[in-house]
Symmetry: C2
């Protein structure tokens, strides 16, 4: 993660967390918290062990503690539109690690693809007076952000470039589309199909712009056909796959890029079950590196979205907003560049394409 853009306040060296102190002292985190806030109720022996651990590890509560002394909890909330897309699990993991370095707990709520529930979760977390919120929606959610702010709860938006001024962490989705289409063109494919759906979703619009840019650079050597699916569910991808199978072989594209991995997987399964060879006849790829698309007939090339870094940077921005005086805070946007992840569905079967997974 050393190549991620770093901004003051958004990132920094790893700091010992309250958990580290508790482990070293052999006590619970509650005891550490008591030593910091209500030392009189802790036995002298435990207090000394905790203070020794604080000293040895260089743990400090810094400005955040005083910023939080206004009745809000030591918890921050992360509300995501979904958890089925593994991007959001990655975001949560990165956010939690960074939060613990600041002595903050992360609580997660997810909306199961329902904007009404996203809104309800933001309200519920505000009712619990969390110190701050991270929100990862799929459509503009400025009203919820402004309502939280009025209640004294700062919000950082993740993975969505909304209307309301806010700190944000984004992936360059135009670059996602460009990288993906460029990869297929670099493999020598000249008849691209782009499978697209939900053009009201910001990531879809941006990825499409990137695809068009890569194709435009070919000066006419590469043709692009856009195939519009009716939605992002596997069944809609399967329908597109059937349409491709129904074409005479000479009229089929030699590469298919789907705007999500789930669509790409459904297409792969349709093509493979009709005897079309992937990638020999048609290379197929997705572009959002979603582990929900893991069950396909051929391991799928995709584009990584760097979720853990999104989460960590988001907490960095939230902590900065919590510790700076409101009148001097200015919002920051961090943009992360995506990375190509090549597997069998475009590059063929070879040991080099075996993803070694998490270590």
């Amino acid at each position: 993660m050393s190549d991620s853009p770093r901004r003051p306040g958004a990132d920094g060296p790893i700091r010992p967390s309250i958990l580290d102190v508790a482990k070293r002292a052999g006590v619970s985190t509650g005891t550490v918290s008591n030593v910091l806030n209500r030392p009189a109720i802790v036995s002298q022996e435990k207090r000394e062990r905790v203070l020794e651990a604080i000293e040895a590890l260089g743990f400090s509560r810094n400005k955040l503690a005083s910023a939080l002394a206004h009745g809000r909890s030591k918890t921050i909330g992360l509300v995501t539109i979904d958890l089925s897309n593994s991007l959001f699990v990655d975001i949560a993991r990165g956010a939690q690690r960074r939060a613990l370095e600041h002595g903050l707990y992360l609580q997660l709520a997810f909306a199961d693809d329902d904007p009404t529930l996203l809104d309800a979760h933001m309200s519920a977390l505000n009712d619990e007076r969390v110190a701050g919120l991270l929100v990862a929606p799929m459509a503009d959610h400025g009203e919820g952000i402004e309502r939280s702010r009025r209640l004294g709860c700062p919000v950082v938006e993740l993975n969505y470039d909304g209307e309301v001024p806010s700190c944000r962490v984004l992936v360059d989705n135009e670059a996602v589309g460009y990288l993906a289409a460029r990869h297929l063109i670099d493999l020598g494919r000249t008849h691209l199909a782009f499978v697209i759906a939900r053009v009201d979703y910001q990531p879809v619009v941006l990825r499409r712009a990137g695809v068009l840019r890569a194709v435009a650079e070919s000066d006419g050597a590469v043709t692009l056909t856009e195939l519009f699916a009716e939605g992002l569910k596997p069944r809609e991808g399967a329908r597109i796959g059937q349409d491709l199978v129904a074409l005479p072989a000479g009229q089929r594209p030699d590469a298919v890029l789907a705007v999500t991995d789930v669509l790409a997987m459904a297409i792969v399964n349709q093509l493979a079950s009709s005897g079309i060879r992937i990638p020999d006849d048609i290379a197929v790829m997705g572009c959002d590196h979603n582990s929900a698309a893991w069950g396909g007939a051929v391991p799928l090339t995709s584009v990584e979205m760097r979720g853990e870094e999104i989460g960590a940077a988001g907490v960095g921005l939230l902590v900065a907003e919590l510790t700076e005086p409101a009148d001097t805070h200015s919002h920051t946007t961090i943009i992360l560049e995506p990375r190509l992840r090549i597997r069998e569905s475009t590059a063929g079967r070879s040991p080099a394409n075996a993803d070694q997974g998490q270590s």
Copy 2:
């Protein structure tokens, strides 16, 4: 999901949730809550719309509302040891759907594989006075369960059969091991290797017992070698894979069953990159259907753990415990049977093995 065991209180027909009422009335869930709790502050026009929606949908707050009228929030917490294993995401999705039917919000906390953090999250959620907790640990956590109970917060344990009396939802992990080994034996494999690690983990012990049972049934026709990995990370699986590659071809097993998908994936990658054909030379499978193992060279046969049903049943038990008088409540254990999911790594490449994914 119609074949899941059903018990009174643990399951039941789908009920309209507070979200359904809000949507039908065209108001926020906060307004619905106000109509129910503080009707005077809601405009007459909105109040009528909400009451019409409550009537039309048959929404009822039932006994739960009064059970929660003692200062605890309308939120239940789910604390999982991890989120990287997709089983826990499935559990969360199922739990949330059932919780919303009861007008309860689900907040999620995960421990990133750290029992100390699991404990800290349980305490933090208790500090927020959640109505109840679901906890999915990997080792006994009875102390945390008893502490929560003393604070008036009931706890249902998921996916772990702990020491402390409690309602529980479990998968039959002995059946997981049996199903997996039986599958390999049914394919005609006779020299099985079982890759095992962390024999202090309950699911590992139980899966092993199931494997031994399946092998014993063969009356000596099938041999079993146990290969002990040093842990559950991919690198430990890769090391086992290297050991297998180093054996003379005639001494290799013809089937490898790993106690987790992540180990199985690492083994697949090692074997495939050494030119060993999967499944022709060696069939390989995991047995915990984990989407973290999606990136391997060959799509992996595994055993499904029915996470959504675990989560839903857990909420059912929690609501039963919240609504029954404490002196008449008796704890219930629900045990779900696992299911085999066959893919290329044991059955070879064929269209029938293409998993159609989530729909």
